[in-house]
Symmetry: C2
Subunit: 254 residues, 2 copies
Amino acid sequence: MEYTVQRLSSLAGVSPRTIRYYDEVGLLRPCRINSSGYRIYGPAEVDRLQQIMFYRELGVGLKAIKEIIDAPSFDIKAALLEHRARLLAKRAQLDQLIANVEKTLAQAEGRIRMTDAEKFAGFKQKLIDDNEKQYGAEVRAKFGDEAVDRSNAALAGMTQEQYAAWQELNQKLMQTLTAAFATGDPAGKLAQEAADLHRQWLNFTWDSYSPEAHAGLPQMYVDDERFTAAYDKEQPGLAKFLRDAILIYTGQKQ
Amino acid sequence: MEYTVQRLSSLAGVSPRTIRYYDEVGLLRPCRINSSGYRIYGPAEVDRLQQIMFYRELGVGLKAIKEIIDAPSFDIKAALLEHRARLLAKRAQLDQLIANVEKTLAQAEGRIRMTDAEKFAGFKQKLIDDNEKQYGAEVRAKFGDEAVDRSNAALAGMTQEQYAAWQELNQKLMQTLTAAFATGDPAGKLAQEAADLHRQWLNFTWDSYSPEAHAGLPQMYVDDERFTAAYDKEQPGLAKFLRDAILIYTGQKQ
DNA sequence: CTTGACCTTAACGTTACGTCATGGTTTATC
DNA sequence: GATAAACCATGACGTAACGTTAAGGTCAAG
């Protein structure tokens, strides 16, 4: 299939000017010029434009994109895998922002309090991403993934010790929760211990705790598929079980 | 808590220049200037900056942001709810991009074929979002949600009839699948009917079908929490059941 | 009391296009 | 077979949201 400027632009969802600009800077040249001087683009150019769009979406500058995809070492499969990883990271950041907006709403309603730093969670993370974009690959290669993650945690305002403790707490919560789930009783001793661990875990990221806020959470856990997926991944029904345990723990039920 | 320029900038994860620029254009003025001419920002400015960051993240221009948050009718709770909705929409678009990258990878390995339009799925959607940003609210208020969704579908290259058919097919698939799940037999007649409906449903968005590609999908369904959540929301275990049914349908199993 | 890290204003540079202007080409329609 | 609408081309200037550098004042620590 061959495309003129506007056809290609509407295929990709950009403006004709963008296509011409990419020609101007040598990023995307037409495969040929027809008899009346029109730019004509072929399948190879379509694929190249797709790659450009992925990089652009991830915030890479046009000059850098050109260097990357024109490099003789450029490997499309590797590039696609990297795109996937970066897009997943971006999604994780978006999830942080969504959590932030929900917390801010809770604060606006007086249900919780937030520190100033918390008000920018998910925005600061963007800096981390940009850092990663530039140096992440090298550092990861040299010192391993853990080093990078620790560094990210530090950047996010958590010390290494805090981060380790938070990780450990999360693991403990999961263990206790699955054990409690086996008993089937959300009012039982194990389930209530899990609810308390959940409160502790929450305190790491929330800074101030109130029973009302804690009680408001679990319904969100069940309603929001992101949370259900995280908990139910271990065992289906775990999210609902945790909700019931917390409702009893906070005195909302029974 | 009071902040100087750099302290505020590092709190929010932006550059000092950005903070000064926002003062210059009247978007974020310091609450006072100290004796040596330094800009000082208080709690109200921190909250205002957070709002600015949310709007900026969603692609709103600084001038428009100023008009919105300076309007006397500005309601912070309503704004936060709108942020949440827009962020969720952005997340859905990211999911499309992730699916796109995965399909492109499958195509690079020769497992499936893609149309040129499919190669830009999730990018074109961005146009839809921008449209929504400008006119969505009004149209939604006037004609209701359904009208907007139909319009989005048309924009995405689907006719209304196609979209309706696609919706109906999806509903039918879910009904058949839950019925099949009740029998517990992925090789049974109902389960195989569900697998065939799934193939038809897929054909709406994939354009070209191959048994290999179809067989490669279900493992992804189980591995990727987005898909498991979508299916298991109805009934836990549904995703795995569908995987087994498809594996038998494509002849990969038994 | 000096050094380095902060603060100020001013002004020019940059990226990735948007937006005309001016003129030729193709396509649909009457 | 003309004519209008919708496309194509190349300039060339405009713009948003800062980055960057320069030239000078301020403050906390050793």
